[in-house]
Amino acid sequence: MNLRTLIELARPRSSTDRRRMALLVSAVALAGAFLLAGQRVARHSATYLDGWEQSSYLAEPGLRQGVVVAAVLMAGTACALAFQALRLGTAARDRRLTTLRLAGATPNQVRLVGAVDAGLGGLAGGILAGPLYFVLAAAVQALPGEARVLPAPNYLDLLAWPVAIVLLTVLAAIAGRSLRRGLVTEPTVDPAATGWRTKYLVIGLVGLALIVLSSMVFNLVTIFAQTAGVVLAASGFAPLAVARHGRRLGRSGDPLKMLAGARLLHTARPVGRMLALLVFCGGVAGVVMAMAVDLQATSGGVIQDDPFYLTGFAFVGLLALFAALAAGVALLAGTADDLLDQRRQLAALSVFGVGESQLLRSVRRRLTSTVAPAITIGLLIGGGLYSSILLRAEYSSSGRAFVVVLVGAVTGGLVAWLVAAAAAFLLRGQVREAVDPQNLRSA
């Protein structure tokens, strides 16, 4: 097969394919823009002495590293979204590629098609990343001094851009290739099978141990160890919790809950990963919340108009929000993909009266019953851990911080519930298509 044939075969065909490609390209472009921002900050060396009006987050070398880490984390989040986009529509594309296999293509050629498909998305995203970064950097320059956490772009960015394009293209191609690994050769394994659970339990327990152990000592390392602990615990426990929740819904006897539960049980790992990200975002927001309350109490109210704190809180909050949105988009896209993939089965259910509104309710339950608790738990963990640090440092404000965290967690959960319910509403077109009797036809 030559390159032309490969590109032809990898080209998006259906509207779903094109939507998947659009999501992939946007996510890669975001990742690239964050990477470019990260390298720009890393190359930045101006200090206060240069007299240039800039944010303290850039001027202080320690804080500057934090900005770089934040940019890299955001790039990672965008990459996760891109990876999720790559997985979309795999069932349909796998069938197409299986046909290719049957037509005589070797497994390697099939994998090559996967790599080219993803690589093209990476290339397009990388190319878009440049303009996106320059717009972002220019926009930041328009902010007031303390909020300018990105230096003005310079000519070296023009060199970094092609590097980013190559990097993103190669990464995407590798990811696309790896997703084709199981094609054809592997028999279907029920993803609800219990084999994976022990591994996740161990990861979760290690995370938990890390949190507990690190809160026994109190120094700067504590923060990092606890952060790592929360990440591990969330990644390990979230899929387990999703599976458990799914099984419980499945046993409820309510057929719509049963459908929602069974789907959750079968997607426990991908859904759990996104929920873990939501827990982490909630955690970050919880820390910011507790920190703000504490500073407010100990500083006698000056932080309201201290641009340093305002900038810090605003940017951390925005980044957490961005990551949470990315997780939400991935969840939503996955749900849309399920609806498409199972349309025949779902249409068959309409004979029994599971119509558009019932199915939409089932989908909504799937989203709200997972997203809202994830956010609440995250806020509680982040806010709780930070408040307990305050408590042990015997700050007088810790009691108030606990109360605020509690109220914030409940409010946050409520808001997340509303957002998830509204997002489910966005899927009504897919739901309608899924129950269309057209899907009952053979061939």
């Binding site: 279907t188 029920d190 609800a192 499945g250 046993r251 409820s252 006897g253 309510d254 057929p255 049963m258 459908l259 069974a262 789907r263 049980l265 079968h266 199972q342 025949r344 089965q345 779902l346 068959a348 259910l349 309409s350 004979v351 029994f352 009266g353 599971v354 119509g355 009797p437 009952l440 036809r441 053979s442």
Partner: protein, 226 residues
């Protein structure tokens, strides 16, 4: 005279470009087995979907166990369909996430039955169709034939007056196909359900009491076979 299981009177249905049914009339007595045959694209599936109330006939009337579908409010129509009509498709109708038991119990649960009672009834049917050993398995773990058996169980679990089957053996090999046909016939007989089978397999038509031959959206001829 006993009530007809199904009565179609001059039913018409057109898609955006194609007219699929041009005035089809058909009567099915309780317990009767009718084979609908005809070349591909002649309107067999459309006929079945109109009869089962999945599609709404654009002209003419459809009576399911004596009830005019067009005159029923949506909720009652759904309920009638759920309790009085079973549907078996060619393949891929079972929810892949659910075990065979839950798949078969689903219509009963939607009807408001208790979970345990619904599962017991489902298991009973799975036993009758010969896949009780795989009751806990999901469809992807089983063969096409086993899935079709479960689909037959799901169509019959509510004790419907009529079962509609759209090429139920079309994706199976000859042997498995014959088994499913026999299963459908015997199960329908046990439950006293009428059976409307769409097929272009002549052998299948031989099982029926009556063959209805469709061509270009009209009934070309009817043959009484029994």
């Amino acid at each position: 005279m006993t009530e007809l299981a199904l009565e179609l009177i001059r039913v018409e249905y057109a898609y955006r470009r194609d007219v699929a049914l041009r005035g089809v009339s058909l009567q099915v007595r309780p317990g009767e087995v009718v084979a609908v045959t005809g070349p591909s694209g002649c309107g067999k599936s459309t006929l079945l979907h109109c009869a089962a109330g999945i599609l709404r006939a654009q002209a003419g009337t459809v009576h399911l166990v004596g009830q005019n579908l067009a005159e029923l409010p949506e909720a009652d129509r759904t309920r009638l369909r759920r309790t009085q009509a079973g549907v078996v498709l060619q393949f891929g109708q079972l929810v892949p996430d659910l075990s065979l038991t839950d798949n078969v119990a689903l219509p009963l649960l939607l009807e408001g039955h208790e979970r345990e009672a619904a599962r017991r009834a489902a298991l009973g049917w799975l036993e009758r169709v010969g896949v009780a050993d795989d009751a806990a398995a999901t469809p992807s773990e089983l063969s096409g034939g086993q899935n079709q058996r479960a689909a037959v169980a799901r169509a019959l679990v509510t004790g419907p007056a009529i079962v509609f089957a759209d090429e139920p053996t079309g994706s199976l090999d000859t042997h498995a196909g014959e088994q499913i046909m026999e299963l459908l016939l015997s199960s329908a007989r046990v439950g006293g359900s009428a059976l409307v089978i769409v097929t272009h397999d002549n052998l299948v038509a031989a099982y029926a009491d009556r063959e209805v031959r469709l061509r270009d959206g009209v009934i070309q001829h009817e043959v009484s076979l029994s």
